[in-house]
Amino acid sequence: MTRAKLQSKFARSPVLRYGFAATSCAIALGLALLAQRDDFLNMEAPLFLLAIALTVWYMGIGPAILAVVLSSLAFDFFFTEPRYSFYVKSSEIPHYAVFILFAVLLSWFSMVRQRVEQKLLQSRNELQMEVVKRTEQASLLNLTHDTIFVRDMSDIITYWNRGAEELFGWLVEDAIGRNSDQLLQTDFPIPIEEVRAELLRTGRWEGELRKTKADGSGVVVASRWSLRQDEQGRAVAILETNNDITERKRREQEIQSLNQELVKRSAELEAINKELEAFAYSVSHDLRAPLRHMAGYTELLQQKTSSVIDQKGTHFIAMILDSAKRMGNLIDDLLAFSRIGRAETQNSRVNMDQVVKEALTQVRQETEGRKIAWKIGALPDFYGDPSMLRLVLVNLISNAIKFTRTRAQAEIEIGCSEGNGDYLIVFVRDNGVGFDMKYVNKLFGVFQRLHQSEEFEGTGIGLATVQRIIHRHGGKVWAEGTVDGGATFYFSAPKPPGDLWRP
């Protein structure tokens, strides 16, 4: 049993501790008496001192004092002349005093030793605790994903966590003792002197750095530096934390280049639009002028020669004038069509019933002298440009009126059906001459016509205009028809945001 265990076991019981002192003294006395009886002389002093030593060693100072007292009394009573009395003969006094001195010195030395030992033990424990604590902290730094390393003021690495190993590819044993800027080939965006100056002034520095990994690849890090100072305020080390932002940087650059591309594209588009506008302007001016001259001079010719020209000549002149007029209409329609593509749309909630009413007013002239049975259903609200949507309906209704001209009783129906998602569908149905589905994809092209102009006049712009407007609304146009069996034109356009279908 070790002394510490023994001490702790006896520590709680004074009876046991002092009993130990008394018992050891008694044993020492017994052994000394036995030795004396067997003529082993002068054994008493070593035996008592041994008892005291044991007591002071194992039981501490209190029991030691008791042992000293008991031993002194026993020594006095049994082993100094006269025997069996506490009286000490003057010649025995030095002998007895030396014994007591030894006993006291022994106790005192033991006590001092013990105290020193305890202190040593305590500092050893403290040291151990400190070591455990430090180890824990170090392993905590290892747990983080962040890259942390410490370097002294001459940039020699003194600590290197696992994050640093993972990011830079250098193991802790490779990194410790190396110059950090050389190891990582750090690329500073600003002069290093400025970085150091700020670090020394404020104790911190933050910035983006480009470093190189063990495999030679580059890495961009968000770097944070903190200065460590000793008690005297002298800078002793720099703690550097790095976060890998290479991917973020790459994405930022990607976004930037995409943005640049976008800016370039919009500039190009704008330029094209400008060009188109200039083209349309020039068409508007320059193409119409010669046409006007042709028509003008032809009419003057007609006036001047009306008396001398025969019927055929009159017909030719009429044809020239007719063509000029037609050309003028074509140019006007084409310009209107191109204007739709360039015009700004002004979107709002559109009352479609109202729009249909306005469209019908606009085409009233075309219905003169006609028998038309109108069937107009209630329409929900749409979301779009009201004047453009009106133009769509004017074109579709006008077509329906035109292509039912051969019917004794024309029937035209306007209605609505639920589209998918945020779109509503409007249809315009007629019982007119219809068309062959074979040519359905030609219907919406510019200048595309499915009928001869003697039958049905027109420039072939109307449905192209419809399609362009609906496409600008994000919708679709399509048609169904049979030859001589009528036609139905559909278009889809957005409903107002947040609206539910109401039948």
Partner: protein, 152 residues
């Protein structure tokens, strides 16, 4: 012949000789062509209005109306309009833009500059003649021109 006496001078700014001829023909039909001054580009029009260059010696009265084409060599019609309307005296001359263009921005720009009328030349000659006649009759006969304009 009282109306003839009251006929004002018309300044026509038009670069296209055919347009000039057709317009003059149209005005002739109604006896309005007598006092038409033709300027063939914007610079010439301004020279006339400001009495400079070849028009240094012209009589000081201003025309009763100016018919102004927009697409002109050298200075375009809008620039002419701008200079006329920013001159203290000339701004009183009624200006009618007579152009091939139906472009909205031209129309807006012209009205912003203070044009008095904007007419798009019709392709149909009949309509063109009618338009010119009505313009001539209104501005040169019916309308009371500002003081200092020519009246014959």
């Amino acid at each position: 012949m009282e109306t003839m006496n009251k006929l004002g001078r018309i300044l026509m700014v038009e670069d296209d000789p055919k347009d000039v001829e057709l317009t003059l023909t149209a005005l002739e039909e109604y006896n309005l062509a007598n006092e038409v001054v033709v300027a063939r580009d914007g610079e010439q029009a301004l020279d006339y209005l400001f009495c400079r260059g070849e028009y240094k010696m012209r009589s000081s009265e201003n025309p009763a109306v100016m018919l102004l084409d927009l697409k002109l060599p050298k200075l375009d019609g809008l620039e002419v309009l701008k200079q006329v309307k920013s001159d203290g005296t000339l701004r009183m001359i009624p200006v009618v833009v007579l152009t091939s263009s139906k472009e909205e921005r031209d129309m807006v720009a012209s009205y912003k500059l203070g044009v008095n009328a904007y007419v798009v030349k019709p392709v149909n000659f009949h309509e063109f003649v009618n338009a010119i006649r009505e313009l001539g009759v209104f501005w040169a006969i019916i309308n009371e021109p500002p003081p200092g304009s020519i009246r014959k």
